[in-house]
Protein backbone atom coordinates (compact mmCIF):
# COMPACT_ATOMS: atom_id res chain seq x y z
CA UNK A 1 0.00 0.00 0.00
CA UNK A 2 2.77 2.37 0.98
CA UNK A 3 4.70 1.43 -2.17
CA UNK A 4 1.75 2.21 -4.35
CA UNK A 5 1.23 5.57 -2.74
CA UNK A 6 4.86 6.57 -3.19
CA UNK A 7 4.79 5.40 -6.79
CA UNK A 8 1.83 7.64 -7.44
CA UNK A 9 3.58 10.49 -5.69
CA UNK A 10 6.69 10.12 -7.87
CA UNK A 11 4.58 9.94 -11.00
CA UNK A 12 2.67 13.00 -9.92
CA UNK A 13 5.86 14.95 -9.38
CA UNK A 14 7.18 13.97 -12.80
CA UNK A 15 3.93 14.92 -14.45
CA UNK A 16 3.84 18.20 -12.61
CA UNK A 17 7.38 19.07 -13.65
CA UNK A 18 6.82 18.02 -17.25
CA UNK A 19 3.88 20.37 -17.48
CA UNK A 20 5.46 23.28 -15.67
CA UNK A 21 8.92 23.22 -17.21
CA UNK A 22 8.27 22.83 -20.90
CA UNK A 23 11.40 23.83 -22.85
CA UNK A 24 13.52 24.29 -19.80
CA UNK A 25 16.18 22.36 -17.99
CA UNK A 26 17.52 22.68 -14.52
CA UNK A 27 20.82 21.25 -13.33
CA UNK A 28 18.64 19.41 -10.82
CA UNK A 29 17.35 17.37 -13.76
CA UNK A 30 20.80 15.90 -14.15
CA UNK A 31 22.22 12.72 -12.66
CA UNK A 32 25.13 10.44 -13.31
CA UNK A 33 26.53 7.09 -12.24
CA UNK A 34 29.43 4.82 -13.09
CA UNK A 35 28.11 1.60 -14.59
CA UNK A 36 29.74 -1.70 -15.39
CA UNK A 37 29.81 -2.86 -18.99
CA UNK A 38 31.83 -6.03 -18.43
CA UNK A 39 33.76 -7.64 -15.61
CA UNK A 40 36.68 -5.24 -16.04
CA UNK A 41 35.37 -2.15 -17.77
CA UNK A 42 33.21 0.64 -16.44
CA UNK A 43 31.71 3.69 -18.06
CA UNK A 44 30.18 6.95 -16.98
CA UNK A 45 26.46 7.26 -17.66
CA UNK A 46 24.83 10.67 -17.43
CA UNK A 47 21.12 11.43 -17.75
CA UNK A 48 19.49 14.76 -18.56
CA UNK A 49 15.74 14.88 -18.09
CA UNK A 50 14.23 17.06 -20.80
CA UNK A 51 10.72 18.39 -21.17
CA UNK A 52 10.40 17.52 -24.86
CA UNK A 53 11.39 14.23 -26.42
CA UNK A 54 11.98 15.88 -29.81
CA UNK A 55 14.69 18.16 -28.46
CA UNK A 56 17.73 18.31 -30.72
CA UNK A 57 21.18 17.83 -29.26
CA UNK A 58 24.80 17.47 -30.33
CA UNK A 59 27.88 16.12 -28.57
CA UNK A 60 31.31 17.14 -29.86
CA UNK A 61 34.87 17.83 -28.76
CA UNK A 62 35.73 21.43 -27.98
CA UNK A 63 37.88 22.36 -31.02
CA UNK A 64 40.04 24.52 -28.77
CA UNK A 65 40.44 22.10 -25.87
CA UNK A 66 40.60 18.40 -26.53
CA UNK A 67 39.88 17.67 -22.87
CA UNK A 68 36.37 19.09 -23.12
CA UNK A 69 33.16 17.79 -24.67
CA UNK A 70 30.36 20.16 -25.63
CA UNK A 71 26.82 18.90 -25.23
CA UNK A 72 24.44 21.35 -26.88
CA UNK A 73 20.71 20.98 -26.16
CA UNK A 74 18.75 23.07 -28.65
CA UNK A 75 15.76 25.29 -27.91
CA UNK A 76 16.01 24.72 -24.21
CA UNK A 77 16.53 27.26 -21.50
CA UNK A 78 18.30 26.82 -18.26
CA UNK A 79 15.89 27.18 -15.40
CA UNK A 80 17.01 30.03 -13.08
CA UNK A 81 19.40 30.98 -15.91
CA UNK A 82 22.30 30.43 -13.56
CA UNK A 83 25.58 28.74 -14.25
CA UNK A 84 25.99 25.61 -12.28
CA UNK A 85 28.88 23.25 -12.06
CA UNK A 86 28.76 19.67 -10.82
CA UNK A 87 31.67 17.42 -10.03
CA UNK A 88 31.61 14.07 -11.81
CA UNK A 89 33.24 10.76 -10.92
CA UNK A 90 36.81 11.98 -11.54
CA UNK A 91 37.91 8.94 -13.53
CA UNK A 92 35.88 9.28 -16.72
CA UNK A 93 35.08 12.97 -16.38
CA UNK A 94 35.96 15.65 -13.86
CA UNK A 95 32.99 17.99 -13.98
CA UNK A 96 30.08 19.33 -16.00
CA UNK A 97 29.00 22.93 -16.16
CA UNK A 98 25.80 24.29 -17.69
CA UNK A 99 25.40 27.53 -19.56
CA UNK A 100 22.45 29.09 -21.32
CA UNK A 101 23.15 31.21 -24.41
CA UNK A 102 19.58 32.45 -24.64
CA UNK A 103 18.34 29.74 -27.00
CA UNK A 104 20.34 26.62 -26.29
CA UNK A 105 21.98 24.98 -23.31
CA UNK A 106 25.67 24.34 -23.61
CA UNK A 107 27.02 21.78 -21.15
CA UNK A 108 30.79 21.54 -20.92
CA UNK A 109 32.08 18.15 -19.77
CA UNK A 110 35.71 18.32 -18.59
CA UNK A 111 37.75 15.16 -19.04
CA UNK A 112 40.91 14.23 -17.14
CA UNK A 113 42.42 12.97 -20.45
CA UNK A 114 42.18 13.83 -24.13
CA UNK A 115 38.83 13.14 -25.78
CA UNK A 116 40.47 11.02 -28.49
CA UNK A 117 41.16 8.44 -25.79
CA UNK A 118 37.47 8.18 -25.00
CA UNK A 119 34.39 6.66 -26.56
CA UNK A 120 31.40 8.90 -26.07
CA UNK A 121 27.84 9.05 -27.33
CA UNK A 122 24.62 10.91 -26.71
CA UNK A 123 21.21 9.31 -27.23
CA UNK A 124 17.60 9.49 -26.12
CA UNK A 125 16.78 6.74 -23.67
CA UNK A 126 13.91 4.48 -24.60
CA UNK A 127 11.01 5.76 -22.51
CA UNK A 128 10.12 2.25 -21.37
CA UNK A 129 13.62 1.59 -20.05
CA UNK A 130 14.31 4.89 -18.37
CA UNK A 131 14.43 5.00 -14.62
CA UNK A 132 14.37 8.78 -14.51
CA UNK A 133 11.08 9.20 -16.27
CA UNK A 134 10.32 10.26 -19.83
CA UNK A 135 12.39 12.20 -22.34
CA UNK A 136 15.78 11.39 -20.97
CA UNK A 137 18.88 12.31 -22.91
CA UNK A 138 21.86 10.14 -21.97
CA UNK A 139 25.59 10.62 -22.48
CA UNK A 140 27.93 7.69 -21.98
CA UNK A 141 31.69 8.10 -21.69
CA UNK A 142 34.11 5.21 -21.57
CA UNK A 143 37.82 4.89 -22.18
CA UNK A 144 39.04 3.27 -25.35
CA UNK A 145 40.06 -0.33 -25.03
CA UNK A 146 43.70 0.31 -26.03
CA UNK A 147 44.10 2.19 -22.76
CA UNK A 148 43.13 -0.84 -20.78
CA UNK A 149 45.82 -3.16 -22.06
CA UNK A 150 47.61 -4.68 -19.12
CA UNK A 151 51.37 -4.42 -19.44
CA UNK A 152 53.26 -7.53 -18.34
CA UNK A 153 55.94 -5.34 -16.76
CA UNK A 154 53.35 -3.66 -14.55
CA UNK A 155 51.26 -6.59 -13.38
CA UNK A 156 52.77 -6.58 -9.89
CA UNK A 157 50.80 -3.44 -9.02
CA UNK A 158 47.50 -5.37 -9.24
CA UNK A 159 45.63 -5.52 -5.95
CA UNK A 160 47.77 -2.91 -4.21
CA UNK A 161 46.49 0.35 -2.75
CA UNK A 162 48.50 3.36 -3.86
CA UNK A 163 47.95 6.97 -2.79
CA UNK A 164 49.18 9.57 -5.28
CA UNK A 165 49.69 13.16 -4.12
CA UNK A 166 50.00 15.72 -6.93
CA UNK A 167 52.08 18.44 -5.22
CA UNK A 168 50.58 21.89 -4.51
CA UNK A 169 47.29 22.99 -6.17
CA UNK A 170 44.57 25.59 -5.89
CA UNK A 171 45.81 28.68 -4.07
CA UNK A 172 49.34 27.24 -4.04
CA UNK A 173 50.80 27.23 -7.54
CA UNK A 174 54.03 25.62 -6.39
CA UNK A 175 57.13 26.80 -8.24
CA UNK A 176 56.60 28.79 -11.44
CA UNK A 177 58.97 28.44 -14.40
CA UNK A 178 60.51 31.27 -16.47
CA UNK A 179 57.75 30.76 -19.07
CA UNK A 180 55.02 30.80 -16.46
CA UNK A 181 54.38 27.05 -16.31
CA UNK A 182 53.05 26.21 -12.85
CA UNK A 183 54.23 23.25 -10.84
CA UNK A 184 50.69 22.44 -9.63
CA UNK A 185 49.49 21.76 -13.19
CA UNK A 186 52.47 19.61 -14.13
CA UNK A 187 52.19 17.50 -10.98
CA UNK A 188 48.47 16.92 -11.55
CA UNK A 189 48.97 15.98 -15.23
CA UNK A 190 51.66 13.41 -14.40
CA UNK A 191 49.70 12.10 -11.41
CA UNK A 192 46.64 11.52 -13.60
CA UNK A 193 48.73 9.58 -16.09
CA UNK A 194 50.20 7.50 -13.26
CA UNK A 195 46.66 6.96 -11.99
CA UNK A 196 45.42 5.73 -15.36
CA UNK A 197 48.31 3.33 -15.86
CA UNK A 198 48.07 1.88 -12.36
CA UNK A 199 44.29 1.51 -12.45
CA UNK A 200 44.44 -0.15 -15.88
CA UNK A 201 46.84 -2.64 -14.38
CA UNK A 202 44.59 -3.53 -11.50
CA UNK A 203 45.79 -1.28 -8.67
CA UNK A 204 43.49 0.69 -6.39
CA UNK A 205 44.63 4.29 -6.64
CA UNK A 206 43.50 7.20 -4.50
CA UNK A 207 44.47 10.75 -5.42
CA UNK A 208 44.83 13.51 -2.80
CA UNK A 209 43.33 15.80 -5.44
CA UNK A 210 41.97 15.25 -8.96
CA UNK A 211 41.47 18.89 -9.88
CA UNK A 212 43.31 22.18 -9.41
CA UNK A 213 42.42 22.69 -5.76
CA UNK A 214 43.78 22.91 -2.24
CA UNK A 215 43.37 19.64 -0.37
CA UNK A 216 42.62 21.32 2.98
CA UNK A 217 41.39 24.81 2.14
CA UNK A 218 42.57 27.80 0.11
CA UNK A 219 45.35 29.73 1.83
CA UNK A 220 45.36 27.36 4.80
CA UNK A 221 48.45 27.01 6.97
CA UNK A 222 51.23 24.95 5.44
CA UNK A 223 50.86 22.24 8.06
CA UNK A 224 47.06 21.95 7.65
CA UNK A 225 47.49 21.58 3.90
CA UNK A 226 50.30 19.01 4.10
CA UNK A 227 48.60 17.06 6.89
CA UNK A 228 45.43 16.85 4.78
CA UNK A 229 47.49 15.07 2.10
CA UNK A 230 49.06 12.77 4.69
CA UNK A 231 45.57 12.00 6.01
CA UNK A 232 44.46 10.65 2.63
CA UNK A 233 47.22 8.07 2.96
CA UNK A 234 46.49 7.39 6.62
CA UNK A 235 42.71 7.14 6.37
CA UNK A 236 42.54 5.10 3.17
CA UNK A 237 42.15 1.46 4.13
CA UNK A 238 45.25 -0.60 3.49
CA UNK A 239 47.42 2.03 1.79
CA UNK A 240 50.58 0.22 0.64
CA UNK A 241 52.57 3.22 -0.55
CA UNK A 242 52.26 7.02 -0.62
CA UNK A 243 53.76 8.84 -3.57
CA UNK A 244 54.06 12.62 -3.83
CA UNK A 245 54.83 14.08 -7.26
CA UNK A 246 56.59 17.45 -7.57
CA UNK A 247 58.65 19.58 -9.93
CA UNK A 248 61.85 21.01 -8.56
CA UNK A 249 63.03 24.61 -8.47
CA UNK A 250 66.19 26.45 -7.53
CA UNK A 251 67.35 30.06 -7.60
CA UNK A 252 70.08 29.18 -10.06
CA UNK A 253 68.45 28.52 -13.48
CA UNK A 254 71.18 26.07 -14.46
CA UNK A 255 70.16 23.52 -11.80
CA UNK A 256 68.69 20.49 -13.55
CA UNK A 257 67.89 16.81 -13.27
CA UNK A 258 65.60 14.27 -11.66
CA UNK A 259 65.71 13.28 -8.00
CA UNK A 260 63.69 11.25 -5.52
CA UNK A 261 63.44 11.63 -1.76
CA UNK A 262 62.54 9.24 1.05
CA UNK A 263 62.31 9.44 4.82
CA UNK A 264 65.56 8.40 6.42
CA UNK A 265 64.04 5.86 8.83
CA UNK A 266 62.13 4.01 6.10
CA UNK A 267 64.21 1.37 4.28
CA UNK A 268 61.14 0.45 2.20
CA UNK A 269 60.65 4.08 1.26
CA UNK A 270 64.29 4.20 0.23
CA UNK A 271 63.85 1.10 -1.90
CA UNK A 272 60.77 2.51 -3.58
CA UNK A 273 62.61 5.78 -4.25
CA UNK A 274 65.63 3.99 -5.75
CA UNK A 275 63.56 1.84 -8.11
CA UNK A 276 61.51 4.77 -9.41
CA UNK A 277 64.63 6.93 -9.73
CA UNK A 278 66.38 4.24 -11.76
CA UNK A 279 63.42 3.86 -14.12
CA UNK A 280 62.98 7.61 -14.55
CA UNK A 281 66.66 8.21 -15.38
CA UNK A 282 66.71 5.30 -17.83
CA UNK A 283 63.66 6.77 -19.54
CA UNK A 284 64.36 10.52 -19.58
CA UNK A 285 68.14 10.80 -19.91
CA UNK A 286 68.28 13.81 -17.60
CA UNK A 287 70.91 14.44 -14.91
CA UNK A 288 70.66 11.79 -12.22
CA UNK A 289 70.48 13.66 -8.92
CA UNK A 290 70.01 10.33 -7.18
CA UNK A 291 67.95 9.59 -4.13
CA UNK A 292 68.34 11.29 -0.77
CA UNK A 293 66.81 11.23 2.67
CA UNK A 294 64.86 14.41 3.37
CA UNK A 295 62.81 15.65 6.27
CA UNK A 296 59.82 16.44 4.05
CA UNK A 297 56.50 16.78 5.83
CA UNK A 298 54.54 14.29 3.73
CA UNK A 299 57.32 11.69 4.02
CA UNK A 300 57.88 12.12 7.74
CA UNK A 301 54.22 12.01 8.72
CA UNK A 302 53.01 9.08 6.58
CA UNK A 303 53.23 5.73 8.33
CA UNK A 304 53.50 3.65 5.13
CA UNK A 305 56.53 3.58 2.79
CA UNK A 306 56.57 6.86 0.90
CA UNK A 307 58.62 8.77 -1.64
CA UNK A 308 58.62 12.25 -3.14
CA UNK A 309 59.59 12.58 -6.79
CA UNK A 310 61.09 15.74 -8.24
CA UNK A 311 60.45 15.14 -11.95
CA UNK A 312 62.77 17.87 -13.26
CA UNK A 313 63.50 21.58 -12.66
CA UNK A 314 60.70 23.92 -13.64
CA UNK A 315 63.13 26.78 -12.92
CA UNK A 316 65.35 25.52 -15.76
CA UNK A 317 64.08 26.76 -19.11
CA UNK A 318 64.73 23.53 -21.04
CA UNK A 319 63.25 21.32 -18.35
CA UNK A 320 60.27 23.63 -17.96
CA UNK A 321 59.39 22.96 -21.62
CA UNK A 322 59.82 19.22 -21.04
CA UNK A 323 57.63 19.26 -17.94
CA UNK A 324 54.90 20.96 -19.93
CA UNK A 325 54.96 18.42 -22.76
CA UNK A 326 52.51 15.56 -22.88
CA UNK A 327 55.17 13.14 -24.17
CA UNK A 328 57.55 13.83 -21.30
CA UNK A 329 54.73 13.57 -18.77
CA UNK A 330 53.73 10.21 -20.24
CA UNK A 331 57.34 8.97 -20.27
CA UNK A 332 57.76 9.91 -16.62
CA UNK A 333 54.41 8.41 -15.61
CA UNK A 334 55.28 5.10 -17.25
CA UNK A 335 58.72 5.04 -15.63
CA UNK A 336 57.23 5.79 -12.21
CA UNK A 337 54.77 2.91 -12.66
CA UNK A 338 57.54 0.51 -13.69
CA UNK A 339 59.41 1.47 -10.51
CA UNK A 340 56.29 0.89 -8.42
CA UNK A 341 55.70 -2.48 -10.06
CA UNK A 342 59.28 -3.56 -9.38
CA UNK A 343 58.81 -2.47 -5.77
CA UNK A 344 55.80 -4.76 -5.35
CA UNK A 345 57.44 -7.57 -7.29
CA UNK A 346 60.20 -7.75 -4.71
CA UNK A 347 58.14 -7.31 -1.59
Amino acid sequence: MLKKTSLFLVLAIFLFQAVCLAGSFSPDDFRYSVLRSSSVTNYLHMEFRLSDKNTKYTLQVNPENKRELFLTISDTKLKHNNLKQTALDGEFADKISFKDDGANIRAVISLPYDADQADYKAYMVDNNKSKSGNNVLAVDISKKEVQKSVSPSLQAVAGHVIVIDPGHGGSDSGAVGPDGIMEKNVTLAVAQKVYNILVNNGATVIMTRTTDRDVYAPNASAVDELQARVNVGEFTRGTDIFLSIHANSFSSPSANGTGTYYYQYSPQGERLASLMQEEMINANGLTDRGTAAANFYVLKHTSMPSALIELAFISNYQEEQLLNSDDFQETMAEAICRGISRYFQGS
Partner: protein
Protein backbone atom coordinates in the same frame (compact mmCIF):
# COMPACT_ATOMS: atom_id res chain seq x y z
CA UNK B 1 73.24 40.84 40.05
CA UNK B 2 75.62 43.64 39.10
CA UNK B 3 78.47 41.60 40.50
CA UNK B 4 77.56 38.66 38.32
CA UNK B 5 77.46 40.92 35.29
CA UNK B 6 80.91 42.26 36.05
CA UNK B 7 82.27 38.74 36.47
CA UNK B 8 80.68 37.75 33.21
CA UNK B 9 82.08 40.76 31.44
CA UNK B 10 85.57 40.06 32.72
CA UNK B 11 85.18 36.46 31.65
CA UNK B 12 84.03 37.59 28.23
CA UNK B 13 87.02 39.86 27.72
CA UNK B 14 89.34 37.10 28.91
CA UNK B 15 87.85 34.52 26.61
CA UNK B 16 87.91 36.88 23.64
CA UNK B 17 91.61 37.44 24.27
CA UNK B 18 92.07 33.69 24.53
CA UNK B 19 90.17 33.15 21.29
CA UNK B 20 92.29 35.75 19.54
CA UNK B 21 95.38 33.98 20.76
CA UNK B 22 94.35 30.62 19.45
CA UNK B 23 95.42 29.57 16.01
CA UNK B 24 93.49 26.37 15.44
CA UNK B 25 89.81 26.27 14.57
CA UNK B 26 88.82 23.65 17.08
CA UNK B 27 90.16 25.74 19.93
CA UNK B 28 88.04 28.57 18.67
CA UNK B 29 84.95 26.43 18.86
CA UNK B 30 85.60 25.31 22.40
CA UNK B 31 86.10 28.84 23.58
CA UNK B 32 82.97 29.94 21.81
CA UNK B 33 81.13 27.16 23.57
CA UNK B 34 82.19 28.42 26.95
CA UNK B 35 81.01 31.89 26.12
CA UNK B 36 77.66 30.67 25.06
CA UNK B 37 76.85 28.84 28.23
CA UNK B 38 76.46 32.07 30.11
CA UNK B 39 75.92 34.91 27.73
CA UNK B 40 72.97 35.45 25.46
CA UNK B 41 73.64 36.58 21.96
CA UNK B 42 72.64 40.18 22.51
CA UNK B 43 74.69 40.67 25.67
CA UNK B 44 77.92 40.16 23.84
CA UNK B 45 77.84 43.44 22.00
CA UNK B 46 79.05 45.78 24.73
CA UNK B 47 81.82 47.86 23.26
CA UNK B 48 82.44 49.85 26.46
CA UNK B 49 83.66 46.70 28.20
CA UNK B 50 86.48 46.23 25.74
CA UNK B 51 89.40 48.59 25.41
CA UNK B 52 89.54 50.28 21.99
CA UNK B 53 92.92 48.75 21.18
CA UNK B 54 91.44 45.29 21.69
CA UNK B 55 88.88 45.88 18.93
CA UNK B 56 91.07 44.33 16.28
CA UNK B 57 91.20 41.19 18.38
CA UNK B 58 87.42 40.70 18.20
CA UNK B 59 87.56 38.54 15.13
CA UNK B 60 86.86 34.85 14.82
CA UNK B 61 87.53 32.56 11.93
CA UNK B 62 84.84 30.20 10.87
CA UNK B 63 83.36 28.22 7.99
CA UNK B 64 80.07 29.25 6.39
CA UNK B 65 78.30 27.45 3.53
CA UNK B 66 76.82 28.44 0.20
CA UNK B 67 75.15 26.04 -2.27
CA UNK B 68 76.78 25.10 -5.55
CA UNK B 69 75.10 26.25 -8.73
CA UNK B 70 73.33 22.96 -9.32
CA UNK B 71 71.94 22.86 -5.78
CA UNK B 72 73.51 19.53 -4.90
CA UNK B 73 76.12 20.32 -2.28
CA UNK B 74 77.18 23.11 0.03
CA UNK B 75 80.56 24.75 -0.58
CA UNK B 76 82.59 25.66 2.49
CA UNK B 77 83.74 29.30 2.59
CA UNK B 78 86.20 30.62 5.18
CA UNK B 79 85.29 33.90 6.81
CA UNK B 80 86.87 36.11 9.43
CA UNK B 81 83.90 37.45 11.37
CA UNK B 82 84.03 40.80 13.13
CA UNK B 83 82.28 40.28 16.44
CA UNK B 84 83.05 43.67 17.94
CA UNK B 85 79.47 44.86 17.41
CA UNK B 86 77.57 41.70 16.47
CA UNK B 87 77.55 38.45 18.38
CA UNK B 88 79.14 35.58 16.49
CA UNK B 89 75.86 33.95 15.45
CA UNK B 90 74.57 37.19 13.97
CA UNK B 91 77.93 37.75 12.30
CA UNK B 92 77.79 34.27 10.76
CA UNK B 93 74.29 34.80 9.34
CA UNK B 94 75.35 38.23 8.08
CA UNK B 95 78.19 36.54 6.21
CA UNK B 96 75.54 34.37 4.49
CA UNK B 97 73.44 37.47 3.75
CA UNK B 98 76.48 39.16 2.18
CA UNK B 99 76.81 36.21 -0.17
CA UNK B 100 79.64 34.21 -1.64
CA UNK B 101 82.85 35.31 -3.31
CA UNK B 102 83.75 33.95 -6.72
CA UNK B 103 84.00 30.16 -6.64
CA UNK B 104 82.12 29.85 -3.37
CA UNK B 105 78.76 28.98 -4.95
CA UNK B 106 75.66 31.18 -5.12
CA UNK B 107 73.78 33.46 -2.75
CA UNK B 108 70.90 31.60 -1.15
CA UNK B 109 69.07 33.79 1.37
CA UNK B 110 66.43 35.65 -0.67
CA UNK B 111 67.61 39.15 -1.61
CA UNK B 112 66.38 41.88 0.70
CA UNK B 113 65.83 39.56 3.68
CA UNK B 114 66.52 41.27 7.01
CA UNK B 115 67.94 39.37 9.94
CA UNK B 116 65.95 40.33 13.04
CA UNK B 117 68.02 38.33 15.51
CA UNK B 118 69.66 35.06 16.47
CA UNK B 119 69.48 33.54 19.93
CA UNK B 120 70.94 30.32 21.25
CA UNK B 121 69.54 28.75 24.41
CA UNK B 122 71.28 26.47 26.89
CA UNK B 123 69.97 23.35 25.13
CA UNK B 124 71.79 24.34 21.97
CA UNK B 125 68.66 25.46 20.12
CA UNK B 126 69.44 28.38 17.82
CA UNK B 127 66.46 30.50 16.77
CA UNK B 128 67.03 32.58 13.66
CA UNK B 129 64.50 35.32 13.15
CA UNK B 130 64.12 36.89 9.69
CA UNK B 131 61.60 39.37 8.34
CA UNK B 132 58.94 37.97 6.00
CA UNK B 133 61.03 38.66 2.89
CA UNK B 134 62.64 35.35 3.79
CA UNK B 135 59.43 33.56 2.76
CA UNK B 136 57.91 36.04 0.31
CA UNK B 137 60.97 36.18 -1.91
CA UNK B 138 61.73 32.48 -1.64
CA UNK B 139 61.20 30.82 -5.01
CA UNK B 140 62.76 27.38 -4.74
CA UNK B 141 61.25 23.94 -4.63
CA UNK B 142 62.62 20.99 -2.67
CA UNK B 143 66.17 21.77 -3.69
CA UNK B 144 65.82 25.47 -2.89
CA UNK B 145 64.49 24.58 0.57
CA UNK B 146 67.21 22.05 1.30
CA UNK B 147 69.95 24.43 0.21
CA UNK B 148 68.57 27.45 2.11
CA UNK B 149 67.79 25.58 5.32
CA UNK B 150 70.99 23.58 4.95
CA UNK B 151 73.33 26.55 4.50
CA UNK B 152 71.98 28.29 7.60
CA UNK B 153 71.71 25.15 9.74
CA UNK B 154 75.10 23.77 8.80
CA UNK B 155 76.74 27.18 9.27
CA UNK B 156 75.25 27.66 12.75
CA UNK B 157 75.97 24.09 13.86
CA UNK B 158 79.64 24.79 13.13
CA UNK B 159 79.47 26.44 16.55
CA UNK B 160 79.81 23.28 18.59
CA UNK B 161 77.30 24.47 21.19
CA UNK B 162 74.57 24.79 18.57
CA UNK B 163 72.73 21.48 18.14
CA UNK B 164 69.51 22.42 16.36
CA UNK B 165 68.06 25.39 14.50
CA UNK B 166 64.55 26.78 14.45
CA UNK B 167 63.44 29.31 11.85
CA UNK B 168 61.27 32.27 12.79
CA UNK B 169 59.65 34.83 10.53
CA UNK B 170 58.73 38.10 12.22
CA UNK B 171 59.11 36.24 15.51
CA UNK B 172 56.72 33.40 14.66
CA UNK B 173 57.89 29.82 14.10
CA UNK B 174 57.99 28.94 10.41
CA UNK B 175 56.16 25.68 9.47
CA UNK B 176 57.57 25.23 5.98
CA UNK B 177 59.10 27.44 3.30
CA UNK B 178 57.02 26.28 0.35
CA UNK B 179 55.52 22.98 1.43
CA UNK B 180 58.38 20.49 1.52
CA UNK B 181 60.70 20.44 4.54
CA UNK B 182 58.98 20.05 7.89
CA UNK B 183 60.31 22.98 9.93
CA UNK B 184 57.84 22.55 12.80
CA UNK B 185 60.53 20.74 14.77
CA UNK B 186 64.08 22.13 15.07
CA UNK B 187 66.40 21.14 12.24
CA UNK B 188 69.53 19.13 12.96
CA UNK B 189 72.78 19.39 11.01
CA UNK B 190 72.28 18.32 7.39
CA UNK B 191 75.42 16.29 6.90
CA UNK B 192 74.44 14.70 3.58
CA UNK B 193 74.81 17.92 1.61
CA UNK B 194 78.30 18.77 2.91
Amino acid sequence: MKQIKTVLAVFLVLSVVLVAGCSSNTDNKEQAGQQNGQITANDQAKPEKAAPDKKAAKNIKMTVYFPDENGQKLIAAERTLDISTDDKYTAAIKALLQGPKKGEGIAIIPAGTKLLGVTVNKDGLAEVNFDNTFVKKFSGGSTGEIMLVGSITDTLTNFSEVKTVRFLVDGKPLETLSGHLDLTTPVTRMQNIL
